[in-house]
């Protein structure tokens, strides 16, 4: 078995007296999509925050490529190759789609303390950005300001931005939320192609998509990890069914 890229080791997080993450341990291996599911309020988003570095755990460690990054900030982790998309679409509305991606490429391309050349004339960045946009299917929309794109298109742009940084792993927070059936189809295809390039830790509500995509699935409930396993294992697990009882999305 290959070395895991990301390891979460007994993470703990409390808000006041409420334990939202309890002793959560899981890992992410090369070439896989590892989905994180659970009912609303199970602590999925908190866990994503802990992994990306916008929140600090009260206990436990986060290892990236074997390196302890628990104390590092969001930008520092990003520089080590952790790319993240956000539950609320987080693109730069005043920038064109192309420039959004070019900025991401710029992050991985030497110093940004360059003052004398107009950045939007840098052919190398622009070409690479265009290629990335083509890859996610947004090539025709490159010059449109991100603020003017449709919801689904902004999702695609988020993905383009994420992969443009050539990350070691992708952290995707509900990439399919709000997408129509057609867009969902397209995004699922895209994610499947992406996982060969870098592994994905995926939080998603759309169960059909999760079962179609994920190599492994972990179930969170009330801050605790109930089980990790394949789609079939998960569906058969009794505790999972209890946790989801009444939740229609687990249909």
């Amino acid at each position: 078995m290959p070395e895991p890229i990301l390891v979460l080791d007994k993470l703990e997080k409390h808000f006041g007296g409420l334990a939202v993450t309890q002793q959560v341990s899981l890992d992410l291996r090369p070439g896989e999509i590892h989905a994180l599911i659970g009912p609303n309020g199970a602590g999925k988003t908190t866990l994503i925050h802990l992994v990306s570095g916008t929140l600090r755990p009260d206990a436990g460690r986060v290892l990236l490529d074997g390196r302890d990054v628990t104390r590092l900030s969001l930008p520092q982790r990003a520089r080590l190759g952790l790319a993240r998309s956000f539950q609320i679409t987080c693109v730069i509305p005043g920038f064109s789609a192309l420039e959004n991606v070019a900025l991401a490429l710029q992050a991985g391309d030497g110093s940004s303390f360059r003052f004398f050349r107009a950045a939007h004339h840098e052919a190398r960045l622009n070409d690479a950005a265009r290629a990335t946009l083509d890859e996610v299917g947004l090539g025709a929309r490159a010059t449109i300001p991100a603020g003017a794109l449709s919801h689904g298109e902004r999702r695609q742009l988020e993905l383009a931005v994420a992969i443009a940084t050539q990350p070691r792993l992708l952290l995707l927070d509900e990439p399919l939320a709000g997408a129509g059936p057609e867009e969902t189809e397209r995004l699922i295809g895209l994610l499947q192609r992406l996982k060969a390039r870098c592994p994905i830790l995926l939080v998603e509500h759309d169960m059909q998509a999760v079962f179609a995509l994920a190599d492994r699935i972990s179930v969170l409930n009330q801050g605790q990890l109930i089980v990790t396993g394949s789609a079939a294992q998960i569906q058969a697990h009794p505790e999972v069914q209890t946790a989801y009882l009444g939740e229609d999305e687990f249909a």
């Binding site: 990306s52 900030s73 969001l74 930008p75 520092q76 990003a78 520089r79 790319a83 993240r84 956000f86 987080c90 693109v91 730069i92 509305p93 005043g94 920038f95 420039e99 070019a102 900025l103 991401a104 710029q106 992050a107 991985g108 110093s111 940004s112 303390f113 360059r114 003052f115 004398f116 050349r117 107009a118 950045a119 939007h120 840098e122 300001p145 603020g147 003017a148 931005v161 940084t165």
Partner: protein, 320 residues
């Protein structure tokens, strides 16, 4: 070529051309040149502030302090018998940039209104310090006996020469700020203004970018301050007062926050309007005040035009 015809560029280019032609079109008397050079100097400070407000989303209410430092460096060197501009001007720029660097380290920890207020606080501290500087006349100010020379040449005193030096430095400041905001550096700044979380998720810490922008803008304002000291041949703490900072902010907004050269148009419009109104009536503020209010309400994009995407954003917000 069509790029030059956009209102955001056309208006300031016309303004610069008009400034260059003005001395030959009947505005060559000393008063007109005094007024125009004051407008150009304030325009320089406003352009540098625009790099912060429009480029980085940092509305500083202490920008006049940087001008004050530049002006007082010229005065302090004059007191020490140094009138060489090749020393005084770089010293003014460096001192203002250093002040910006030190205060920026603290101020940039905050954002939004808190940033406005903490920059005001630093500005006020400097203002009171200058007012207490007995050696430089305290709040009576200090009269320079003559302008700076450059390598011995008296190029700042002849009126036309001074006019074109101001114009040249104004154009250069604009060019520098424009180049910065279009560069990779400026792209990160602009991105961090709009969506700081995204920028951090890409691995950038906005802080060093903002600090550097703050320092550069401070240096340009320091240069403007040194020029102002030479234009007035007099410095007083009023250069660094907070109403002056508010005026600079207003010039930026009047011209249009989103467009860097808007500040230039805003500064010209502001100075000429103020003097024009004051010339015809003593209660000019009764007209000027409502004009400010109306300009803010009805010209949301400033004189150099609107911000299409931002309007859309507002509409979206209204839908939500």
């Amino acid at each position: 070529m069509t790029r030059l015809l956009r209102p955001s560029l056309l208006l300031p280019l016309l303004a610069l051309a008009a400034l260059a032609a003005a001395p030959f079109l009947g505005f060559g008397d000393r008063f007109a040149l005094t007024l125009l050079s004051r407008a150009m100097i304030l325009g320089m400070a406003a352009v540098s502030l625009s790099l912060l407000v429009g480029g980085a989303g940092l509305a500083s209410l202490g920008h006049a302090a940087m001008m004050g430092i530049g002006a007082y460096v010229v005065a302090a060197l004059d007191l020490a018998g140094i009138t060489e501009g090749a020393i005084a001007f770089p010293a003014a720029i460096l001192a203002a940039a250093a002040f910006a660097g030190i205060t920026g380290l603290v101020a940039l920890r905050t954002s939004g209104v808190y940033f406005i207020m903490i920059t005001l606080a630093f500005g006020q501290m400097l203002f009171f310090t200058l007012s207490a500087l007995s050696a430089l006349g305290g709040d009576d100010g200090y009269t320079l006996y003559g302008r700076n020379t450059f390598l011995g040449a008296d190029i700042l005193t002849p009126r036309l020469s001074f006019h074109f030096i101001c114009l040249g430095l104004l154009a250069a400041s604009w060019g520098l700020c424009a180049m910065l905001s279009r560069s990779r550096f400026g792209r990160v700044l602009r991105a961090a203004r709009e969506t700081p979380l995204r920028v951090e998720a890409l691995g950038f810490s906005p802080f060093p970018y903002r600090l550097l922008a703050y320092v550069i803008a401070g240096g340009i304002a320091g240069l403007a301050g040194a020029l102002l000291a030479n234009a007035m041949e007099f410095v007083s703490p009023a250069v660094a007062s907070w109403p002056r900072s508010a005026e600079l902010l207003f010039m930026v907004v009047l011209g249009g926050v989103a467009q860097l050269p808007g500040a230039l148009v805003g500064a010209l419009a502001f100075v000429l309007l103020e003097e024009g109104l004051a010339h015809v009536m003593s209660a000019w503020k009764l007209v000027f005040g409502p004009l400010l209010v109306l300009a803010v309400i009805f010209l949301p994009g400033g004189l150099t035009g609107g911000l299409p995407w931002r309007r859309r954003k507002q509409e979206r917000r209204a839908d939500a």
